[in-house]
C-alpha cells in the first residue's frame, strides 16, 4: 500500500510517501525564518507560504520515493487541530488530488500522527508488545498524557491547564531576548550551565488552592507560573542577564524546570497505570535534557522508552501517512472529513 501524507497544520509544509508503512520520503519545509521576526507563528504568513511551497514539496516527496501519482493507493492529510487557515491549504490540496486520482482520502488527527511516529522508520511499523503504552505528547501547542490500552484507544489522563511546554520555552526565550523558536535556542544557550542555580516552580506542586478539573492533579501540568517566575527573577536580578555564566545558569535552570515537570508527571503516570512501554512524541521530545531524563526513568522503572527519530519529532507528513496506515492495517476504515476542524478532539477508533 502506497500512501501520500500531507501536513500543513501550523508552520511546517510537509509531504511524505510511505510504502506499507515504511517511510520512503519525508520532505519538510519549515517556515521558521518567516515567523522568527514576530516571535511566533503568524497565521496569514503561514497560509500564504503553504500555498507557495506545498506543490513543490509534494513533487519532491513523490520523486524521493520514486513513485508516480498513478501508483498511490490513498492520501492522508491532517485535518485538525491547528490553525484553520493553515489546515485548509493541505486539506484542499489533498482533497483535490484524491478526486483527480480517484483514490481515497483520509483525515488524520495531528496528535495521532505524533503518537504513531514513534513506530515509524525505513521499515514497516511493528506495534506488537508495545501496549498498554503511556504517551507524553509535548509540542508548542500541547502537553498531554495519553494512556493507550491498545492502538486507537486514547484516554487523556492529564494535560496542561494553561500553557504548553513548547510555549513555555518560546515565551521564556522571548523574555530573555534569545529569539524564536525557543526550544532549540534555549537548549543551545543552556549548554554547560548549572541547572540547579535557580529554583523555578514545576507547576501545581503546591497542594493548596482549588482543583475543579476531573483529571488527577498530580498528572496535570502548569507552565504559566514558570514564565511569570522567570519574568520576576529577571526583574529582581537584572545582573543575571549581564554576566554570561549567570545567564547560562539561568537558562539551564529554566530548561531544567520544563524538562523536570514533564519527566515527573510521566513517572507518576507509570506508577499509576500498568504499561509495557512509554513514549514521548512531539516537537519538544527533541529536547536533549528531556530525552536524558526519560532514558534514566526507563532504566529506573524497567519500562522501555520509545522516541521518534529526530526528523519525525517536529511536524512532518510521514507521521500522518503512518497513522493512517496503522489505522487501516488494524482493520479500521478511513475517515473522510467534510472540512478541517481547528479544535478536533482525539477520538477512539471504535467510537467509544
Amino acid at each position: 500500500m502506497i500512501l501520500l501524507g500531507i501536513e500543513t497544520s501550523c508552520d511546517e509544509t510537509a509531504a511524505a510517501v510511505l510504502v506499507d508503512g515504511a517511510v520512503r520520503s519525508n520532505i519538510i519545509y519549515s517556515q521558521i525564518a518567516q515567523h522568527a521576526p514576530y516571535g511566533g507563528v503568524v497565521p496569514e504568513i503561514a497560509s500564504r507560504d503553504h500555498v507557495r511551497k506545498l506543490p513543490g514539496i509534494i513533487r519532491e516527496a513523490m520523486q524521493g520515493a520514486g513513485s508516480s501519482f498513478e501508483q498511490l493507493d490513498g492520501i492522508a492529510v491532517t485535518y485538525g487541530p491547528g490553525l484553520s487557515s493553515s489546515l485548509l491549504i493541505g486539506y484542499s490540496a489533498a482533497r483535490a488530488l484524491s478526486q483527480r486520482l480517484g483514490i481515497p482520502l483520509t483525515g488524520v488527527h495531528h496528535h495521532e500522527g505524533h503518537i504513531y511516529s514513534v513506530f515509524l522508520s525505513e521499515k514497516p511499523p511493528v506495534l506488537d508488545g508495545a501496549f498498554p503504552m503511556m504517551v507524553l505528547l509535548v509540542s508548542g501547542g500541547d502537553t498531554k498524557l495519553v494512556y493507550m490500552k491498545a492502538p486507537g484507544c486514547y484516554e487523556i489522563i492529564g494535560q496542561t491547564i494553561d500553557d504548553a511546554a513548547g510555549e513555555a520555552l518560546d515565551k521564556g526565550a522571548m523574555l530573555l531576548g534569545l529569539g524564536y523558536p525557543g526550544g532549540p535556542v534555549i537548549q543551545k544557550t543552556a549548554e554547560g550551565g548549572n541547572p540547579r542555580a535557580v529554583r523555578f516552580p514545576r507547576g501545581l506542586d503546591n497542594p493548596g488552592g482549588e482543583w475543579k478539573y476531573t483529571f488527577d492533579r498530580k498528572l496535570c501540568f502548569s507552565f504559566s507560573g514558570l514564565k511569570t517566575a522567570l519574568l520576576y527573577h529577571v526583574q529582581h536580578h537584572p545582573e543575571s542577564l549581564k554576566d554570561e555564566t549567570a545567564k547560562r545558569n539561568l537558562i539551564a535552570s529554566y530548561q531544567e524546570a520544563v524538562a523536570d515537570a514533564l519527566a515527573v508527571r510521566i513517572e507518576r503516570a507509570l506508577e499509576l497505570y500498568d504499561c509495557v512501554s512509554f513514549a514521548c512524541a512531539g516537537g519538544v521530545s527533541l529536547n536533549k535534557v528531556l530525552r536524558e531524563k526519560l532514558g534514566k526513568l526507563s532504566e529506573k522503572c524497567g519500562v522501555p522508552l520509545k522516541l521518534s527519530s529526530p526528523k519525525l519529532c517536529t511536524d512532518n507528513a510521514a507521521m500522518v501517512a503512518g497513522a493512517a496506515f496503522i489505522r487501516q492495517s488494524l482493520g479500521h476504515p478511513f475517515i473522510l472529513p467534510d472540512d478541517v476542524n481547528p479544535n478536533l478532539r482525539l477520538e477512539n477508533w471504535d467510537n467509544t
Partner: protein
Amino acid sequence: MQWISNSPSDTWKIAADFFRRLEIPAVVALHGDLGAGKTCFTQGLAQAAGVREPVCSPTYTIISEYRGTVPFHHIDLYRLGGPEEAFDLGLDEYLEAGGITVIEWAERAAELLPLSTVHIRLDRGEDDDQRMICIVENPLEKKMKDER
C-alpha cells in the same frame, strides 16, 4: 468596578463574581501585560460558565472553543497583523455566536469588537502576588481617538 486579588484562587473568585454580573451573550476583552493574570482570569471565568476542562492558552490555534452551560470561546489575537486577518479567521462569527467570547490582545482587531464589549484591565499590584482587576471604559476607543 475594581477588585484586588492576592492569589490565583482570589482571581478565580473575582472572575466568578464578574460572571454573575455579566449579561450573556457577552464579549470580554482582556488588557494587561505578560504575567498580569489574563490566563488565570479566563480560567476562572470559564469555570464559572460551567466549562469542566482546563482552558489552555490559544496562542497557537488563535481560537479555542469550549462547552459550558453556555458556549465559551477563548481567542488570542497576538499573532494577527490586523482586522482583515481576524475577519479571515472568522472572528466576526464568534463575536455573534452567543455565549461568552474572551479576547486577549483585542487591539489587533479593535474595529471588529461590538460596542457592548466589556473591557477588563489587569495590572500587577504592589507585591508579586497582587493583581488589580478593573472593568474599564474601552481603552481602544480612546487610543483610536488619540491617534486621529
